[in-house]
């Protein structure tokens, strides 16, 4: 059964059938041919898979992110980043990375981050003589911080699939996000030096930093509200998402006046579409997942790993290596939806902390977003930078290596992920 499901899924996927339908068709065929399951199993499982209050955080964070970028809050964040790190060699590369880190704290979606940051940073990097390939790859890899730095749609999906606290995953993302930022900046600095890129301005001015910090204040309050509300026990992550949407509506419509009332329905429909694309994969994946569970898939992985090694850490390295390798041809969300539950079961069997494994698994899947030939973040960045995937594929490697190193670091040092949540929970 497992082999049949994955086989049909992969064949349909390679034939360009969208993921949602490749999952839906392969699991429907399996259900229709099984003698024990009624066909209504498909529909009721799809509904049951989506009928969860924690999952409803997804539309809220998508909507909040879209309202912020429509409201031009991204530009203010970029201005702050220029004041903070523009004086370092390879200035704009660092500005992209720092902006992405800050915007990750506002938005929940890495693809939205890439579109928001990329549409400002890629053209300006090109204008200042940075190569298009470098600009595209810096932005795409920086936006992998999006799903790790809270809020994060991937953590919401992971949390609901694996039954771990989304709030704890959010908090656990802080330190790894910081490590990613520093590592990416270090790699970008070396490449910028080799390519001979100068700083974008002479030196750091405290006045400019303070001024832009105040300018970005409205945006910076968003992570404070979300995380503060969750940590303080005021809201669940979903409720914090609602508050973020209301806040974004008020700020962009009444305070900054950058979003008109007439634009709101369009933003609602666009956000609903972005949400539906995730949910329409998630629904059929519930059917697919329950078929795998009936076929004892986690046990099979465990048996397979057991034949290779008896060392838990090595087994986790193998699993994470598999996720990263699969990420070359499968995109982030699909990796999470298909593999999170069985892999988390296996990791739990080895005694791994569920939050720790959630972080390393999500990061490994996120790397799939920038590895060619299939990576949604790289696609978005390429289309903004108007370069082909082949050109970007050559420049992305150093950044992939950087993120894989961070991933290995997180496996070896669990404290990086569990320290912050332990402080608050």
């Amino acid at each position: 059964m497992t082999l049949f499901l994955f086989g049909l899924f992969v064949v349909l996927l390679l034939l360009e059938l969208p993921v949602a339908f490749a999952i839906g068709v392969s699991s429907s065929v399996a259900v229709l041919f099984s003698e024990r399951l009624p066909p209504t199993f498909i529909v009721s499982k799809i509904f049951a898979g989506l009928d969860s209050f924690p999952l409803m955080a997804i539309p809220f964070y998508v909507l909040a992110g879209n309202l912020m970028s429509e409201g031009r809050l991204t530009e203010k964040i970029v201005r702050l980043a220029i004041a903070l790190v523009g004086h370092v060699r390879g200035g704009l590369a660092h500005v992209s990375i720092v902006s992405a880190a800050i915007f990750s704290g506002v938005s929940g979606s890495a693809a939205a981050d890439t579109a928001a940051i990329g549409s400002i940073m890629i053209p300006s990097m090109k204008r200042e003589g940075y190569g298009s390939d470098f600009a595209v790859c810096v932005v795409a890899s920086a936006c992998t911080m999006g799903p790790i730095i809270p809020p994060s749609i991937l953590f919401i999906v992971y949390g609901s699939l694996v039954q771990v606290s989304v709030g704890q995953l959010f908090l656990a993302g802080f330190l790894p996000g910081l490590v990613m930022m520093v590592t990416l900046m270090a790699f970008a600095a070396v490449i910028a030096r080799r390519r001979g890129h100068a700083p974008s301005h002479a030196r750091f001015l405290i006045g400019r930093a303070v001024e832009t910090l105040i300018g970005a204040g409205w945006a910076l309050l968003v992570p404070v509200i979300i995380i503060g509300g969750i940590v303080g026990g005021w809201f669940t992550p979903t409720e914090a998402g609602v508050i973020a949407v209301v806040y974004a509506l008020l700020i962009s419509m009444l305070v900054l006046r950058t979003v008109r009332l007439a634009a709101v329905p369009r933003i609602f429909v666009e956000s609903a579409m972005m949400t539906a694309i995730v949910m329409l994969i998630l629904g059929p994946a519930t059917v697919f997942g329950s078929l795998l569970i009936r076929d004892h898939f986690p046990g099979k992985i465990l048996a397979g790993l057991g034949a290779l090694t008896s060392n838990p850490t090595l087994s986790v390295f193998l699993m994470i290596g598999f996720v990263i390798a699969a990420g070359f041809v499968i995109d982030v969300m699909v990796l999470i939806i298909m593999l999170a539950y069985p892999f988390a079961e296996v990791a739990a069997h080895y005694g791994y902390d569920p939050i720790h494994f959630g972080l390393i698994f999500t990061l490994a899947a996120t790397i799939g977003g920038i590895t060619p030939p299939v990576g949604s973040l790289l696609f978005v960045a390429c289309s903004i930078g108007r370069i082909g995937l082949t050109e970007a594929s050559r420049a992305i490697w150093p950044f992939v290596v950087a993120l894989v190193l961070v991933n290995a670091l997180l496996i070896v040092f669990p404290a990086l992920t569990t320290l912050v949540p332990r402080l608050f929970f």
Partner: protein, 163 residues
């Protein structure tokens, strides 16, 4: 092809569903902290149902705009004609899957008209109707994509970015 009223009705319903989801979640959240508001028990339930309805109401549009995540690195090397044939085949699969959701969605709804949701005590059959309605919209838009493919041999874009 489908006329402006169709677009207007669909997008209006989507906007209403999103607004209801937002409103219910907001009332549910705020009413806990404002003592003068009556505390409500239906906030989460309305949020979930409206959220799921918005997903299925907008499902047709995601097909029209080719917004779904897909993989084209293998099919990119196919000759254009073969590629069109493959895409027509995929449209067929999308129609078949949507048709299945339509038929069994109606059956699931019919079977559950006597089940009531815990907080609002709405018949679950009515709530389940979002699936066949969404499936019908996907069938309509799937046929639209198919006709576009047959008419000008130019494949609509596939693979957006959602995550």
């Amino acid at each position: 092809m489908l006329g402006r009223w169709y677009d207007l009705v669909v997008t209006t319903l989507v906007v209403v569903a999103v607004a209801v989801m937002l409103g219910a979640a907001l009332i549910g959240t705020v009413s806990r902290y404002l003592p003068f508001l009556p505390s409500i028990s239906w906030g989460e339930e309305v949020t979930r149902f409206a959220g799921i309805w918005s997903v299925f109401l907008v499902a047709g549009l995601t097909i029209r705009h080719g917004a779904h995540l897909g993989v084209d690195f293998l099919t990119a090397v196919f000759p254009p004609r073969v590629r069109t044939v493959v895409r027509l085949f995929n449209c067929g699969l999308i129609l078949a899957f949507s048709g299945l959701l339509l038929v069994y969605g109606v059956r699931l709804a019919a079977e559950n008209m006597g089940q009531y949701s815990p907080a609002l005590e709405w018949p679950m059959g009515v709530v389940y109707l979002c699936i066949p309605i969404g499936a019908a919209l996907m069938v309509v838009e799937g046929i639209g994509v198919m006709r576009r493919l047959l008419r000008n041999d130019v494949a609509p874009p596939i693979g957006g970015a959602a995550e």
